[in-house]
Each structure stands twice: as C-alpha cells, then as structure tokens.
Symmetry: C3
Subunit: 354 residues, 3 copies
Amino acid sequence: MTPESRTGRYFEDFRLGETIRHATPRTLGSGDASLHIALTGSRFAVTSSADFARAVGYRTQPLDDLLVFNMVFGKTVPDISLNAVANLGYADCRFLRPVAVGDTLTSVSEVIGLKENSNRQTGVVHVRSTGMTSDGQPVLSFIRWVMVRKRDQAAVIDAAHVPVLPAQVEPAALGQACPEIDLTRWDDALAGSAMRFEDYQAGERIDHVDGMTVEEAEHMLATRLYQNTARVHFNALSEAKGRFGRRLVYGGHVMSLARALSFNGLANAFHIAAINGGRHAAPLFAGGTVFAWSEILETAELPGRHDVGALRIMTRATRDLACGDFPRDPADGDGPGVILELDYWVLVPRRRAA
Amino acid sequence: MTPESRTGRYFEDFRLGETIRHATPRTLGSGDASLHIALTGSRFAVTSSADFARAVGYRTQPLDDLLVFNMVFGKTVPDISLNAVANLGYADCRFLRPVAVGDTLTSVSEVIGLKENSNRQTGVVHVRSTGMTSDGQPVLSFIRWVMVRKRDQAAVIDAAHVPVLPAQVEPAALGQACPEIDLTRWDDALAGSAMRFEDYQAGERIDHVDGMTVEEAEHMLATRLYQNTARVHFNALSEAKGRFGRRLVYGGHVMSLARALSFNGLANAFHIAAINGGRHAAPLFAGGTVFAWSEILETAELPGRHDVGALRIMTRATRDLACGDFPRDPADGDGPGVILELDYWVLVPRRRAA
Amino acid sequence: MTPESRTGRYFEDFRLGETIRHATPRTLGSGDASLHIALTGSRFAVTSSADFARAVGYRTQPLDDLLVFNMVFGKTVPDISLNAVANLGYADCRFLRPVAVGDTLTSVSEVIGLKENSNRQTGVVHVRSTGMTSDGQPVLSFIRWVMVRKRDQAAVIDAAHVPVLPAQVEPAALGQACPEIDLTRWDDALAGSAMRFEDYQAGERIDHVDGMTVEEAEHMLATRLYQNTARVHFNALSEAKGRFGRRLVYGGHVMSLARALSFNGLANAFHIAAINGGRHAAPLFAGGTVFAWSEILETAELPGRHDVGALRIMTRATRDLACGDFPRDPADGDGPGVILELDYWVLVPRRRAA
C-alpha cells in the first residue's frame, strides 16, 4: 500500500508498467473456510471435507476458489479501485495452485493498460493481479480493468495503452491447481451428483432453482473478511447521498453466491479452473434475492488428462427473478433481472474407462 | 444426494427400507466452533475450552452437541424434507461419541415408515438418520418424521408402515458420548455453577432469564453453516407469497438458542446425552426475541457410573414472552408464546463422595 | 460465576478486596481470528499473517489486542456489570503477553473500590480484572469502574473506598507483550505504510477517512463471540421499553471498529501496548455509521529498546459524522457526534540506524 492509499489513487497516479505490492498478507484459517460456507451455503465436497479431498488426490482440503479470488482481489482495492467509478471486467483469470488452510496470501498488481477517457474526467486502468503464497508461488492470476476518476481534470496523461485480452483461457492452460484425481475414490453420493463430464453437452441449460436473499450484515461480513475496503459496501451514510441511495453488495459476493447455488445441477463441478470473463450487469442491494442458471458453452478434454474434463459455463445470476425461464436481460434499474454474467471453466470428474 | 434432490423428493419417491447416503461430507473446524458461539452465545465450559475439557477427561475439546445435531440434520434436508409441509417430530436421538475439530461428518438415512394421508396429497415419512465420522463410527442417531407432498396426487402408494417410537431414551443408553469425568478436576467457578446432579429435583422449574433477539442474517448464517438448504429459511421473495409471508427461522437454531440460554441455571449440564422428543409448537421469525425456561422431569443415575447423573428436562422456548411465569401455551398466530418444547437428557457432574 | 450471576450481583453483593473467578474458560481458535476480521475489517499485518508475524519476531501469529481485551472483559460481565447503570471508565490497562490461537483465556477480578452514591440507589464498583492463560500467566490487566444498582435501597453499606488511578501507563511499563522486532524483516509495503515511529509528532491529527455502518446482527455476533451477556445488546423486546428504546451496541465493538479504521494512517501501529483511559461519550445503535480520527498526544522511546517506539494516541470515534474536521463534541442525544474517546499507547517500528 502506498501513502496515497488512504484516499486511494486517482487515474494520474498510475504509471504503465509499474508494479504495486499490496498490503495486507493474510494467513487463511479454518475460520475462513467456515465463514465462507456460512456466508454462501457452498456444498462442494472437495472444499467441505478434508477426507474427501485427500481421498481423491489433494494433499489437503483446498479452500474454495472464489474465496481465494476474493481474498486476492480484496488486497488490490486500496491501491487500485478506491476511486473507481466502475469495475469494468475480468479476463484471463487462472487458478494455478490449490490454496489450503495455513497458506499466507499476498497480492501484487502490474499496471498493463492506461487510457484516459475523452471527457478527461476519468480513465481506464488495466492491471494484472497475482496472488501468491509467502514463498512467492503464484496461486492465481487475473486481469481486471476499472474506470478511475482523475484527481485533477487538467492533468495531462501521456500514456495510452490498451492491452489485447484473450477471449478465453485455452483448455491447455487449465488444471494447474487440480491434482490428478483418483476416479476410483470419487464418491458420487457424497459429492451430491452422478453427473460426470461426459453427461454434459454444449447448449445445455440448468436452472439452479434455489434463491438466496442477502442481508446488509452478510455482504459486509463477507467483504470485510476479504479485507476489501471499497466504501460503497460499508458506508450507509455516504451512500445514501450516492448514485444508488444505499450500499452496494460487493460483486465478488454475488459471484460466490451464484457458484454456491450452482451446486444444484453442477455438484461434481468441484473446481473453477479459470474465469474467461465476468460482467456485473446490474447492482445488487441488500434485501434482494439471488437466483442463478447456467448454460454449458463448451466441453473440452484437457491435454494428457484422463481424470477430469472441463466445462465452459456461462452462469447468470439474477435479482428477484427465478431462473426457470433462463432470463438473459439485465436488471432494469431497480427491477428484477440479470445482475451477473460469469464465463468460466470448471473441472468435472470423467467416467472411468470400462 | 440423488438426481431428484435438486427439486427434492416427493412422497412417492421414498421406498420403505431404503438407505439414502447424503451429500456433503463436512470436516468440522475451529471456525465452526467459533461461529457457533457467535451465533448462539453458548457458554458451557467443556465446549468452550480445550484445557477444561481435557482436564475433566475428554481426549480433546468436543464440539457442541446441537452443532453436531444440526450438521448431521442439515445434510438430510435435500433428500428428505425439501418438499416437507411440516417437520412433525424427533425421537430416540442419542449422542454416541464426542465430535471434535478435525472430524469429518457424513449422514445416512433409512426410511423406516411411510403412510399416505387420507387426503392423498401428502404422506408421513419416518427416517432414522445417523451421523458418522469418515471411518464409519456413528456419532449420533435419531428418528424424525415429516409430512411430505406428493408430486402426483393420483400416484398409488402401497406401503403403509408407522414405526413404534420409544417415548424416551432409557437411562442405561445414556452417556456413550461422555468420557469418565474426573470430578477432582471439575472447577465449578470456571464452569459457572456450584449446582451438581444431587442439587436438582424432579418438578423444579428454572427461568433462564435472558432474551435473545434473532436477526435474518443470523439465522441464515447458522442454517447455511449446517449446509441446510430448506428454502423457507432463505428465499424472502418466494416466502413473501408463502404461508407466513416471510422467512422462517430454522427450528434447529431455536433449539441451539434455547440450549445456550439454559446456561443460566444449568451451567453444569455440560452434555446433551439424548433427545427424547421435540416439537416446534409455533414458528419463529426474524425480529422475534427468544426466551426459555426448563422443568426437571426426572433425575436418573447412570448404571455403573459415579461421575455423572442424568436430568431429563423439558425446555420450552418462547417468542416475545419472558419466562418468569413458566408459560406452557404455544404462540397464538403471530402473538407471543411457546415455540419449542424439547424433552432431553443432560449429564451433570455428581458431588464427590466425602 | 456465583449463584447470583443468573440475575447478576447488586451493589451490596460486592466486598472490598474479594476476588471473583469468572466463567467461562475459552480456547481461542482460528475461527475467532477470522470472525474478528469479518466483524471489524481489521488489516494490521502482524495479526493477519502468521508469516509476517514470525518474520518480524513473534513466536506465532498473535491475536488482535482488542479481541483479547473483549474476550477477557466479556467473562467479567455476568459477575460485575449485569446490573450496571453505566460503564464509567477504564484505567491502567496493560497488555502483558501475546495471545495466540490455541491459548485458553480465563478472567479473574478483584474488587478494589466500593462507594455508595448519595442517592443510596446505586454505588460505584472498581475492579481490577486480569486475563490469563490456563497456566496462570497474565496476558492483560485493567481497572474498570461501573455504577451498579442496589437490590435493596435500605441496605447499609459500610465500606467506602475509591482507589487512586494512574492518569496513564508509563512508557517504561510498555512493550511486555511485544517481542524484539527484527526491523530488517519489517516490510512496509506488506504492512501498508512507510510511516515509522520517527515520522509521527505530538499534536498531529489523522483523519481515518472511512466510515463503517453497523447492523444489529453484526454487533450481536461480536458480543456473543466474547460471551458477553449484557442484555442491553441482545434483547430488543426489553430494550424497546428501556432508556434508549432499542438495543445498544457494545462499547468494546466500537473500540474494535475505531482501531480497525485507524489502519488508514496508522498501519504500522501494529500493537496496542496499553490503554490509559476510555470513555463511551454517547451510545451507538444499529444503523449508525462509525468514523474515527486520532490525535498523537505524545511520543515516547521505550527504555532499552531500539526496535519500536510508542505513540500515545487519542482516538475519537463518531456516529454519523465524518472526521475531516476532527470533531471533539459528544453526540447530542440521537444526533451525530463523538461516541468514544480512547487514550492508548501503540507501538510502531523505528527507522533502522543508517
């Protein structure tokens, strides 16, 4: 964290190519795993049970992928997005190693794109953020881009660079955070589904059925757990005068809720290997009820692996709208509709050879 | 979990004698112990302190009995009671081994009773559910019965069996989850009471004094912690159109709150050995304040044990009604009154022989 | 806990010089550390990361000082302040040893002052409370005084003693809970600030900028986590008829929030060594937003230590009032204003000798 981070960096404070090491290192504990379940209701077996995880091939029980993502992301907020007007997107997000209780995570970001907007009041900042353990091993890497306010509209910005972003993570790059899975030990009844990789097909749509109402206390607990300091989530007094008149739910909490809901129909999709892209189509406020549905965009074998296959999924989360009709439209102002579109790869065990 | 469990089983999906292995195995951690205290305010010494627990004879600090009960129960919900109209009762619930941080719990249920109701729209399902550790050692066993909707009213149901239920667990069956207690190491000041087994008498009534108001965020955190997916607790949108017009607090959370409140007067009742029966007499909603009082129904020595004795207790929890007058009537609609009647056995240290 | 503690002690139940051992011993776990972060948003590196803590000289990751304070304090409530009209102040609070996950805390209080008020309805009780680990090693010691109701106005009170309280803890007494810090391993970027002891000067004022809105569920979770049973925090039904018409937020939670907010500007102030005094100037209710600012009252070198220096700080927390203007006035009834004045010593790493 830099001295500026108390009030956050403005657009003219970023330099193309600079590397920012973020505070605060965080040792993940069993308390984080329990709180993640309490806050989201996640039920995936590998991240719920040390015995299940070890039986199928993990060294120890891994922490939920989105818990790790949100922890790594949270650290970047004071330096990157405290003065962001909008969180525009994610790309090329890859999970590189499993993270377990006892691991300490730190985050570092490289500024890879800077472009002032024509109104000269804001600019778009691209960063590649990397989460790593204390020994410097990367566990997660992703690009995000945000629109950030300028402190001084008259400031002259020289650099203008917009990086080329991959439309998706290639299947060959998937699976680095997933050990070889012992299919003889994968217990479908305990995992919650008999559906294996071969049972899913591109084009298939899955309604995850359940709805989850979000309270102010819940999203604030989740966001603080990640040490994410974005004030729009916490300060009811200032937000009452803001754009929405109230606190916003952190988008990463919506992602976690959608993932937890997806257990209904995707219980064996035990690991998020990569996120191709994500868009927060509309805000969520406390009192809203989150639903989700998923479309299988693509199925892919992983080179050299016979244990797991990959499903590319578009999960849409909605606000106050059940997903039996597979809605695609974003929310209309305060009305019900799609609030999140998340394009990602999950890994699913394959059927055993006969 | 079976394929049907996304939308839940209906009455005609159950088969007498069938065994259902439930998802999701769950390794209990220190986070669960802390969250349980944060959610209930429980203050019993044995489950709060590893040092106290080991001093008196436990191998390690045990987790709260109702935390274990709710964890085992939660797993059964997607397969047993997602389409339940009513949770009718519990019987023959016995705690069989202490559960500690690091243990992984799984649940299995056997269908032991099926009887269609005369309206042909619903039926009553009895199951015996067993919680066990990964090595197959049972830690908890109980019967519960629920009224479940039929998917198709015209479906013909052959079986009709109602099991005979014991009115209570016999004293000889108590204490399996309780090690020999070293009375020389039991510290009344730390435990919070000088009252021992010999100080309680049948007929005695105890007002637990304190009241605890429940918020939506709290009961949802608790219920998700148990990975209980019953939608009546989570989905404000659908429940607004439901029977009560709002979310219901999970009955197991009410049991946990009543047990935590009972510390005032029963601080040395460190272990629930068995639950003879339980009835959720009226619903609890967020905003309600829970109080409790207990009546000692019976005192019993345990065969062959001089360390602890058993108290059979009826604890009544109320909504918005202090318990100084020992109320017995259930709530009148939304009004204040009794919401829970829980008949159970607790163990209490005995006085040391002179 | 004594038999009276179900309804609490009244003024005439205290005896000058008596020692009260409090229930319930509590083993602190990783769940407590995670919940503390989720409830407060604290970001100090030493208490967030085991690796950071060990690198700079701690044997293992210490728990947050105010988490320890609130745990020790919570145990005293059933015996000391259940019938308190007001929590009047703290003095001579010293942290004596680091507390880590796995340590079990117990609390004991000595009655060091008793003075009946002239209205004969209440009296002031001074206690010195000490928190210690199971082996009897003190980790924290503090004086607090409360105004307690008499049960019987006619009761005759003989004793009248008011102890002399130190205005502040002397610098020579600071640092017992802080190991020798290895300045070569202190990483400012990870810690979140390049400001060292030498960079602060008496008279300096720091606006901590952020605001944090508090929900009912949050303060109740925090207060129950500490096993603090003061009913004003939990019972909406009785408090609706009480002085404020609603539940009060526990003052210790306000202290923890103010400390967490102080990271903005005091990120390297990694340890609270002592609390000289504290005053809850006005109540906080759920829905209120907490801000904070700090004034450096004094800087002090510690005798014999070249690794860390001490800053004496007055942190003021406010309700619904941003702190850019450094407000000093307490809240006017329900209006915005100062709610906490906390005078304390923090330790900050020094610059390395050239």
